[in-house]
Symmetry: C2
Subunit: 231 residues, 2 copies
DNA sequence: TTTGAGATTTAGGCTAGCCTAATGCCCTGT
DNA sequence: ACAGGGCATTAGGCTAGCCTAAATCTCAAA
């Protein structure tokens, strides 16, 4: 009997929870999460990642292919989704019930997600009416560990002339989020791409109210859209 | 320049926060907190406490008199009161806003108090209307670090025939708290001591509604009362 | 096919915080 | 006055998680 099949599991540490989340995000498009990508995301040195990957594969949370990278096992994925649910419910609660600005919730949720009980998260979810999306438009995994996989395209990829709905802002930076909110670029808003400058230049969009915005390439890559008609 | 005067302070660890809280509680009647009392309260071995006391006195949070015990410095007291404010605001919020039972809040708050920001605590306090007491009747320190020092007497010390108001339940045990709530023994209730059995036997009290309760010595020591007339 | 840049892993070391075992101090009771 | 019990401290060791430096692997380009 190896470590992966031993039971019951000890509770995960804060550090392990963070590694699992990183691997989840880095593998969301399929493939492997590399050591250096994880290191960069968590702001640790690459050897720290190698060491942790060793421990996590011994406990059966990830699959490690040496020199290639890692993927989550079903068990690791479950744990990661639980953390993401916690994070997004917390962000939603802080925004709806405690007057937090959507730019400030990420940092606070990042700390709280390691300390809250399942019970507390479910009470918050209940108080909010079981929200399906967080304040940035990201889907909230269910308590059962299912997450919506939507096909979203970044604003930078939308053809000139197309109309789309902004569904998700894939950013965590407080200042950028404040700026986007000022500009009215928040989930749910309808956009028409009326022009785009060449050489990865900015995209010019018209909002529902007829006003226009100039969105730089870097920001446009963080704005995920869906066709205006689809569900 | 020694460590105590160096600035700025690094953030306190979870462990340090717990030690400071313990010392605060153990010295609330004055005097020193002993190594073994702290060890028992935190469920660690006495040498772990000695080691931590060494570190904490180097950072100027406590005053350590070898073989005697420790006391908080003004700086340590400030940090301890901040943790107690966090804990009690959290307990109040969970009870008022998320439907927690007063027996269950302690465990949850114990985890959260290390993860919440000042900002979040103040938003919760604001949402609650700046409460002065937690669900168990314990006074909540102000954001400025002041705490009410009330002269309370345990029910076991109240003379037969006296009427008192139950002000605080000094317990954290879930089951005992559930039991007390069932019995109607919650802060604010008025009690008249109508009898007491000899040899540290139970106290018999009459509640406002005329019903009576038999309160064992052990529980009576946890029920803090004030005279019925005073503010 | 070989080579070398870049990524990864291994080696070795550090700190915080915990432990047990051994030692030292204090103080009371004889 | 001092012996001994009980508490506190020191000594020494462990793990998790981080680090830097050194060794190793991979793969693309020459």
């Amino acid at each position: 009997m190896n470590a992966a099949t031993r039971s019951p599991q000890p509770p995960l540490t804060r550090s392990v929870e963070d590694y699992l989340k990183s691997v989840f995000h880095l593998t969301s498009q399929g493939g492997f999460a590399t050591t250096s990508d994880i290191a960069e995301m968590l702001e640790v040195a690459p050897p720290s990642v190698s060491g942790m990957m060793k421990r996590l594969s011994e406990t059966g949370l990830i699959e490690h292919v040496p020199y290639r990278g890692v993927q989550l096992t079903p068990q690791g994925r479950r744990a990661a989704l639980q953390m993401i649910r916690r994070h997004r419910i917390l962000e939603s609660y802080l925004t709806s019930k405690l007057g937090y600005d959507w730019g400030d919730v990420h940092v606070e949720a990042e700390q709280l997600e390691h300390a809250v009980s399942e019970k507390l998260i479910e009470r918050m979810a209940d108080a909010l009416g079981e929200p399906r999306y967080d304040p940035h438009g990201a889907p909230i995994p269910t308590a059962a560990g299912e997450i919506e996989e939507a096909e979203l395209v970044t604003l930078a990829d939308i053809a000139v002339g197309s109309s789309v709905v902004l569904r998700e802002v894939g950013d965590e930076n407080t200042e950028r989020l404040h700026y986007l909110a000022e500009q009215g670029l928040i989930p749910g808003v309808q956009l028409t791409v009326i022009d785009r400058q060449p050489f990865n230049g900015p995209t010019i969009v018209r909002l529902g109210d007829g006003t226009t915005r100039v969105v730089g390439q870097e920001l446009a890559l963080l704005l995920f859209c869906r066709p205006v008609d689809g569900e």
